[in-house]
Symmetry: C2
Subunit: 298 residues, 2 copies
């Protein structure tokens, strides 16, 4: 398969134009969408969409309880799916929860979510990756700028830009507790990064990414083109949908306020993974689901 989005092959970084639509359902069907025309336009322009109060207080309570129960039950578990803080043993993320846990399987299949992501991706969808992120007060580390798609394309063989990430806020997100930062409009450009991908890079990159890291000049250009940086804030229960190629990162959190979220990536069933474009080994199923059948909704 032709590599439309080469990266980690050249000596110099390069900014390529996006070759896929941002919204994959034709505009003529906007009136059938489960979100408003303004929301669709905002997502298409900025590469992300924030929706307040998406989940009710009761649903939020249930989800908060569920993530900490899962954290507790994994405290003494040694598993690749359980990612711990570099400088402590605290659990930072738990992967693959949409398959390993019946409760989160139900959340991943929430019809309100599926309706939106099916419209954005213009097809049936499946969960490409899921995880719970625990970012406790005082200790949350920064995460540098990156495009998820760059990694999924190079390391997982995701051919096209036809996936969307969903972050469900499970604590209140302020501007100061290590929030998600996005570069609006960056979804329209692909930053081809320098450097090769070492084998088993994912084991280190889940803690701190060293390959597929965009260069400073490209980041500067993206912010100048897109008009800066956006920091969606909102109460627990709000959601952020962001396009797979939208450049994002987060700062450290030195405040007492935690920032926990449930993170799920939906991919189009018409965008099935092929061999990684790095030419390297496939990453494990818990990071990049290849068995797309099970959770496909229609």
């Amino acid at each position: 398969m032709e590599d439309l989005y080469p990266s980690r092959q050249m000596d110099q970084p390069e900014i390529l134009k996006r070759r896929d639509p941002v919204i994959h359902t034709d505009q003529s069907k906007d009136h059938q969408a489960p979100i408003s025309k303004e929301q669709l336009d905002s997502y298409e322009k900025n590469g992300f969409l924030q929706i307040e109060d998406f989940f009710s207080g009761e649903e939020v309570n249930d989800m908060q309880k569920a993530i900490f129960e899962l954290q507790d039950s994994n405290n003494d578990v040694t598993s690749d799916k359980v990612i711990r803080e570099p400088e402590s043993d605290d659990i930072r993320s738990i992967f693959h929860v949409h398959k390993d846990d019946n409760y989160f399987k139900d959340v991943a299949n929430d019809q309100r979510i599926l309706d939106i992501v099916q419209h954005l991706l213009g097809s049936d969808v499946y969960v490409h990756q899921s995880r719970i992120n625990y970012k406790p007060g005082f200790k949350g580390k920064e995460f540098d700028w990156h495009s998820d798609f760059e990694t999924w394309h190079i390391e997982d063989g995701m051919p096209r830009m036809r996936a969307v990430s969903l972050s469900i806020a499970l604590s209140d997100n302020y501007t100061f507790n290590g929030p998600l930062m996005l570069i609006p409009g960056s979804q329209n450009y692909y930053v081809s990064c320098v450097g090769e991908t070492p084998d088993n890079n994912y084991k280190a990159s889940l803690k701190k990414q060293k390959f597929g890291v965009p260069d400073e000049d490209s980041l500067r250009k993206l912010t100048e083109t897109g008009g800066g940086i956006s920091v969606p804030t909102g109460k627990a229960g709000s959601i952020t949908l962001f396009e797979c190629n939208t450049m994002h990162g987060s700062t450290s959190n030195i405040t007492p306020y935690p920032r926990n979220n449930l993170f799920m990536v939906y991919n189009s069933v018409e965008n099935q993974l092929v061999d990684p474009f790095s030419g390297g080994k496939k990453r494990p199923e818990y990071i990049a689901v290849r068995d797309s059948g099970i959770l496909t909704m229609s």
Copy 2:
């Protein structure tokens, strides 16, 4: 002299009540103040005050030019006054600029500033410390929570809470480029910290503070009492005045946007430094001015 604010002596942290007024001029003279009653009240309640457009565009341009000229001229200088980034040689701060540089001497003596700080401190004032902070895009490191007064009291022998810090924004401050974060109301509590002060602690503490670090429980209590965390933002030319005991910190800056400022601390001439309450050596003059006469204004 009695130590009203002991710290770094006990095994357990403790929160003590402030024993000094926040504004040292009597309320009956509010009408004589160079700032409004609302601004005075806000400073007294929150421990800080943000004033937009304090300096004109032309003044800002001059100051921006001046800080980079000074940075360039210090590039190859080996001096204790020039602080460099831990992981690179880039200049992070230059100290003592109100005495070493005629241009910044004039800024420190700006009558508009002096009028305000003299009112807040209820007396003539002098500059206790001055520095330029360079926080470039991508590379700015975080700075943990601290009360400046705790350090100035323990390491420099500043007896009472009767000083105010002034930060002049020399680049636009957003919520996302490593801004100053403050805990409103924290000026009313003194967090007595654990641990002793090693000799020459300042050489390391200017890069990363390890002593006089408030504990997490105390920080949590301060945010609960004060109602959270404030992040003043504003264009270059805005100023932030914050009381010497207001708890503050800043996150890292992973954005392309720099965050440069000129920082000056004014102390009351009636609050002259004595021997450090740590019982240790005095810090050098460029960090803690003891020769208060030269710049005293009236």
